[in-house]
């Protein structure tokens, strides 16, 4: 009996392979090969050498851009957390009607194109915009330039990426058993202490999820930093685009792309080992 059963399960079934084949071949041709081409170009353009990597890893300009990218991504992640946590809390602990309206708003924001939200920030922060007018009203003679600075691109990125953080934290908060909070209170935990020792640790998985997602998306962010940021403070993706479009420097662009890819994959691999990649997006 045991033998026949194991034979039955070991019998190679052709069906799953047939069903997978079209997508597998497609992904090989239109995903693996283009990626491999980036990897190859990084070593062979314009000639076979490690020169591209040497230049990218040691050049002052490139080092500054890499550093700027990481600092920006970390800062945006922190801001998203500071912005997202209270909002998720408000959603998780409000009356159903209020919670539903906020959820509607966050969902709206999530589904609204990056470009639309980037454009909105151009209006809000522009020289003829409401924020400058407000600054003039409260007494600034010459309000500072807001648009095309580190400030404007960071603010817009926080706004664009916050929904990812909010949804991840909210999902975890909704699952917290109120009995846990009540029993902590009955044992004497109050206010800050209750939050620090009971509530915050319970929401940690949501924070970890949201942070990894926001950080990784921010590392490779192209559109918003290019449109709203200062040209002097580029991020990696912007510089890659610049190298390709302006200088046709495929070798340098590919080497930077490979570094961005490797860093992204390392972060996601660590995440995958601990939580599983399919959890990241919901």
């Amino acid at each position: 009996m045991g033998i026949s059963l194991s034979k039955l399960t070991e019998k190679t079934n052709i069906w799953p392979w047939l069903l997978l084949a079209p997508l597998g071949i497609y992904m090989l041709i239109f995903f693996v090969v283009p990626l491999a081409e980036v990897a190859i170009m990084s070593f062979t353009e314009p000639k076979v050498s490690l020169a591209n990597y040497q230049k990218v890893l040691t050049g002052a300009l490139y080092q500054r851009v890499f550093l700027n990218t990481f600092v920006t991504a970390a800062f945006v992640t922190l801001c998203c957390l500071l912005v997202g946590y209270p909002l998720a809390y408000l959603m998780a602990h409000s009356k159903p009607r209020t919670a539903m309206l906020i959820l509607l708003l966050v969902t709206m924001s999530f589904w609204t194109s990056f470009l639309v939200r980037t454009y909105s920030w151009m209006v809000l922060l522009g020289n003829n915009g409401p924020l400058i007018a407000f600054l003039e009203m409260i007494g600034f003679d010459k309000p500072p330039q807001l648009l095309f600075t580190r400030f404007s691109s960071t603010l817009a990125m926080v706004h664009i990426l916050a929904p990812y953080m909010i949804m991840n934290i909210y999902t975890v908060m909704k699952k917290i058993d109120p009995a846990l909070i009540r029993s902590a209170e009955s044992l004497g935990a109050r206010g800050w202490s209750l939050f620090r020792h009971v509530y915050l640790p319970l929401t940690a998985p949501g924070i970890a999820n949201g942070s990894v997602l926001v950080f990784v998306i921010c590392l490779g962010f192209y559109v918003t930093p290019v449109l709203l940021g200062s040209p002097r403070e580029q991020m990696i993706a912007g510089l890659i685009g610049h190298q390709i479009e302006e200088f046709l420097a495929f070798g340098l662009g590919s080497a930077m792309a490979m570094i961005l890819l490797v860093v992204t994959l390392i972060i996601l691999t660590i995440y995958h080992r601990r939580f599983g990649l399919d959890k990241l997006w919901g």
Partner: protein
């Protein structure tokens, strides 16, 4: 603590909401550049959008490309999802992971790859090129939605149909597909939106001939900030609002006390 969180939460609501709604009054503005509050109101930029070939062709290109991408994505993903959810085989873990990979790779990296690779194949500046690239990028989201649906599928329905004499093909057509329909619809919708909104790859490979709406908007914002963008933003805003609010209203109509369900966006 509680009060502090609530106040902070309400401020964040304003921060999230302001940029979403500001495009609506902007679209009726008669200013020729970014100015808020608008000096006056008219419908001129709506007329400009609906009569300008420069904007209508990219809109049409985007719809065409997103539709073709959706069809191709579903044709590839549906069978693959059945294989991955319903069968156990060696290498399944690897295959599962590969399905998600296009989501893990930054789009700018794919853009560099496609720019060079499609250049060799003569596919840059063509609709086909953008469709092929977008399909690849739409696979993970379509797979995630569909596999979640298929995992929750009660196979007893199929067994019941077959025990009553239905052939496997008939069972699939009359039992499996109808039950999976909501999952298939949402999965297709996500693939469509992924393609319709995709900007970075389109900037690099769509060129003038297959210019998509996001690419046109990106160029326009970068160069002159054409006020027509506010019109498009407003139209997109209302499309999204309609798409999200419709299920809410439907459920509100069905039950008097609607519960906040987790939105599709989180999947």
């Amino acid at each position: 603590m509680n009060t502090f969180m609530r106040w902070a939460g309400f401020i964040v609501v304003l921060f999230i909401a302001a940029p979403l709604v500001i495009v609506v009054p902007m679209s009726f503005s008669n200013a020729s550049s970014l100015q808020f509050p608008p000096p006056g109101y008219w419908l001129g930029y709506y007329r400009a959008y609906f009569t300008s070939v420069d904007w209508l062709i990219p809109t049409w290109n985007s719809i065409l490309i997103a539709t073709a991408t959706t069809i191709l994505t579903m044709a590839l993903v549906v069978p693959a999802t059945f294989a991955l959810v319903r069968h156990k085989f060696r290498g399944k873990g690897f295959a599962d992971l590969m399905m998600l990979m296009p989501m893990a790779v930054p789009h700018i990296v794919m853009a560099v790859g496609y720019y060079s690779y499609f250049g060799d194949l003569g596919l840059v500046h063509s609709h086909l090129g953008v469709i092929l690239a977008h399909t690849c990028l739409s696979v993970p989201i379509a797979f995630l939605v569909l596999s979640a649906n298929l995992k929750g599928f009660d196979r007893n329905f199929e067994r019941a149909a077959q025990s009553l004499g239905a052939s496997p093909a008939k069972t699939f057509l009359h039992v499996t597909l109808p039950i999976l329909r909501p999952g298939l619809v949402i999965s297709s919708l996500f693939a469509f939106i992924q393609s319709f909104d995709e900007t970075v790859v389109a900037i690099f490979i769509s060129g003038r001939d297959a210019e998509t709406l996001p690419r046109k908007m990106f160029d326009s914002i970068r160069q002159e900030a054409d006020p027509v963008i506010a019109v498009i933003s407003t139209l997109l805003f209302f499309v999204v609002l309609l798409g999200i609010a419709a299920p809410y209203f439907a459920s509100a109509l069905r039950s008097r006390a609607p519960k906040p369900s987790r939105p599709a966006a989180a999947h």
